[in-house]
């Protein structure tokens, strides 16, 4: 039953992978600089790594906003957010997973009578504005840098393009890592306070309860990337690429840096050690950061016809998405609690750390089952990766043979 509750989070992860992976590799795939297969494998690996290694920071912030203390509540919130995203995407409205889940958590706070911490809320809302702005600033600075390097180096266009191609793979991998680190909070953040699994010992390292959830969420995102992101990458990617290949790389890098900044505890610690204010660990919308970076480059290049309508839609989304998501979450919590008689949470007993006490303590059997599931999925993923790699090599061999045959006949 516990695993059934996780399905809504996994669905949210799947839709995040299907939609947001295009922000990372869309430009490279859309321009045919990297094959979708290669992009999907790289993105999947790095999304999972980012989620497991660095996902805790942003997830903690969501936990502070509202520590959902019943697994039924976590399920409902993830489902409400997923529904909002689905409906808004269906009507071609710009939507952010972050804003949807934040709205849903506030809805839960209202429903259960928990107070919403205004400090945490303002920290989160602040990053919705600062994220795209930072994206724009990074976009301008990086684009200036790359244009200057291109001009002074006088490197051959084809060689430059091959560097860009390598750069797109590296920035894409970094982007996928940052996406996993930052956005896993949206997918699994609501489940973290409600789950307490036994640590999973894998010999060389062990995974905490939250990390196991992040690994599962990361796998869901990876599934979304592999199964459904191709079309989105090819459509959205080609729109970004219209800028130019180097601008596309800059956009991905700017987005990756912003996501990384808002999810790296180490960087925040570094800031604090040097007397600077701590960086809030908050999940930000990768799509909106991308829009900021594209606009930044547009402003730098002197493009005057800025799409104010798109900007207006984004600003409206900051209010509309969380409000709608909060209302839907509230209604769904009401129905699930009263019709299905499932515990969706209660007023929290706030501990000294400000985080709600754990409400669900799964037994050893659940932990064992989780271990088995994770090992099976990871093994299947590795096998699928190896199979794709073999296919790629076979394709390359066939291509080489056909080329040799062509030139032999030409002679």
């Amino acid at each position: 039953m516990i695993f059934f509750f996780l399905t809504s989070g996994l669905f949210l992860g799947w839709s995040l992978g299907a939609n947001d992976a295009s922000n990372v590799f869309g430009s490279a795939v859309g321009s045919k600089m990297i094959s979708f297969r290669k992009a999907a494998i790289i993105a999947s690996i790095f999304v999972i790594l980012g989620a497991v290694l660095q996902g805790a920071g942003a997830a903690n912030t969501l936990g502070k906003l509202g520590a959902v203390n019943a697994i039924g509540g976590s399920f409902t919130l993830a489902l409400a957010a997923a529904l909002v995203i689905y409906v808004m995407t269906k009507f071609s409205l710009p939507v952010s997973t972050t804003q949807a889940i934040v709205g849903a958590i506030i809805g839960w706070n209202f429903f259960t009578g928990n107070a919403t911490d205004p400090g945490t809320l303002s920290k989160i809302v602040g990053t919705w504005i600062s994220g795209p702005v930072l994206g724009g600033i990074f976009g301008i600075l990086l684009f200036m840098l790359i244009s200057w390097i291109k001009k002074i180096s006088k490197v051959h266009l084809i060689k430059f393009e091959s560097y860009i191609r390598t750069g797109l793979i590296i920035t894409g991998a970094f982007g996928a890592f940052s996406l996993g680190a930052n956005n896993i909070a949206n997918v699994m953040g609501v489940f973290v306070p409600a789950f307490n699994l036994q640590p999973l010992d894998l010999g060389l390292f062990s995974l905490s309860s939250a990390q196991q959830l992040f690994l599962l969420g990361g796998l869901a995102i990876a599934t979304g990337i592999i199964t459904y992101s191709k079309k989105v990458m090819e459509t959205i990617g080609s729109n970004i690429v219209e800028l130019s290949s180097e601008a596309a790389m800059v956009v991905v890098l700017a987005q990756s840096l912003v996501l990384f900044i808002f999810s790296s505890s180490a960087l925040s610690g570094f800031f604090v050690r040097h007397g600077l204010p701590a960086i809030p660990m908050v999940p930000v919308s990768s799509s909106q950061v991308i829009v900021g970076a594209v606009l930044g480059i547009g402003i730098y290049k002197g493009i005057r016809n800025i799409n104010f309508r798109l900007l207006g839609q984004i600003a409206a989304g900051w209010i509309f998405t969380p409000v709608v998501s909060g209302l839907i979450a509230f209604l769904m919590l009401f129905f699930i609690k009263n019709i299905f008689n499932i515990d969706v949470g209660h007023k929290a007993d706030i501990s000294s750390t400000g985080v709600a006490t754990q409400a669900v303590l799964p037994d050893a059997a659940t932990s064992e089952l989780m271990k088995l599931i994770l090992i099976c999925i990871v093994s299947a993923g590795i096998m699928a990766g190896a199979y794709f790699l073999l296919l790629e090599r076979k394709k390359r061999r066939e291509l080489k043979a056909s080329e040799e045959k062509f030139w032999k006949n030409m002679k």
Binding site: S31, V155, H156, L157, S162, V241, S244, M410
Partner: protein, 216 residues
């Protein structure tokens, strides 16, 4: 990554070699016209063979460049334009080969008093095509300089037009000793020579647009 480097290097070399072939073809064309007007048919035949080889090489390189660019997805945003440019430049050497072959087959009798006109016309037309090569090379290394280099192509093309008109006038108005068929035959040769600069101009137009696009 190694595959990228290997393919990239090979492609850069192929493109450079292609430009070398076109450049040499233009040089040989100039020498061939001079040899023909000097009645040195042995040298002319040698030049014709050389152009034939260069044109064959250029064709082979063109196919190789196109194939490499498509199979390895190189320059996806500019590929169509680069291959069109290569095609347009290949047309120049095709035209050179065709013109020299026709002259060799038809053996037009060019009166000695028109020798100077034909040599200057061939020089100017070849100059226009020749100036296209550094501009095309610059597209890959310093696109900011392409347009200033193309100015020379346009200059020589307009000079060729003027010279062509002047030569045709001389053929039809200052050589009453030639019959109309002979005059028409000479005009046909003038058109062939002039066509080289026209093709260079067409390639220059494309290149000019490509340079703007890449700078923006």
């Amino acid at each position: 990554m190694a595959l990228f480097t290997r393919t990239t290097k090979k492609l850069i070399l192929s493109i450079d070699e292609f430009f070398d072939n076109i450049e040499l073809g233009i040089l040989v064309f100039r020498e061939a016209i001079k040899a023909y007007l000097n009645r040195d048919f042995e040298a002319y035949e040698r030049h014709l063979k050389k152009v034939d080889t260069l044109e064959g090489n250029a064709d082979k390189l063109q196919r190789m460049i196109e194939s490499d660019m498509i199979t390895h997805s190189i320059l996806p945003q500019h590929r169509a334009e680069v291959t069109t440019l290569i095609d347009k430049m290949d047309e120049i050497i095709d035209n050179i080969k065709k013109s020299l072959n026709e002259i060799f087959t038809e053996m037009p009798e060019i009166p000695e008093k028109l020798n100077r006109d034909f040599i200057t016309l061939a020089e100017e037309s070849a100059n226009a095509a020749e100036e296209l090569i550094p501009a095309a090379r610059a597209y890959f290394k310093a696109p900011y300089t392409v347009r200033e280099k193309l100015l020379k192509v346009y200059y020589f093309e307009s000079e060729t037009d003027k010279l062509s008109l002047k030569t045709k006038k001389r053929i039809f108005q200052d050589t009453p000793e030639l019959d109309l068929a002979h005059k028409a035959h000479l005009r046909f040769i003038v058109h062939h020579i002039e066509n080289i600069s026209d093709l260079a101009q067409r390639a220059a137009d494309l290149l000019s647009g490509m340079a703007i696009k890449i700078i923006m």
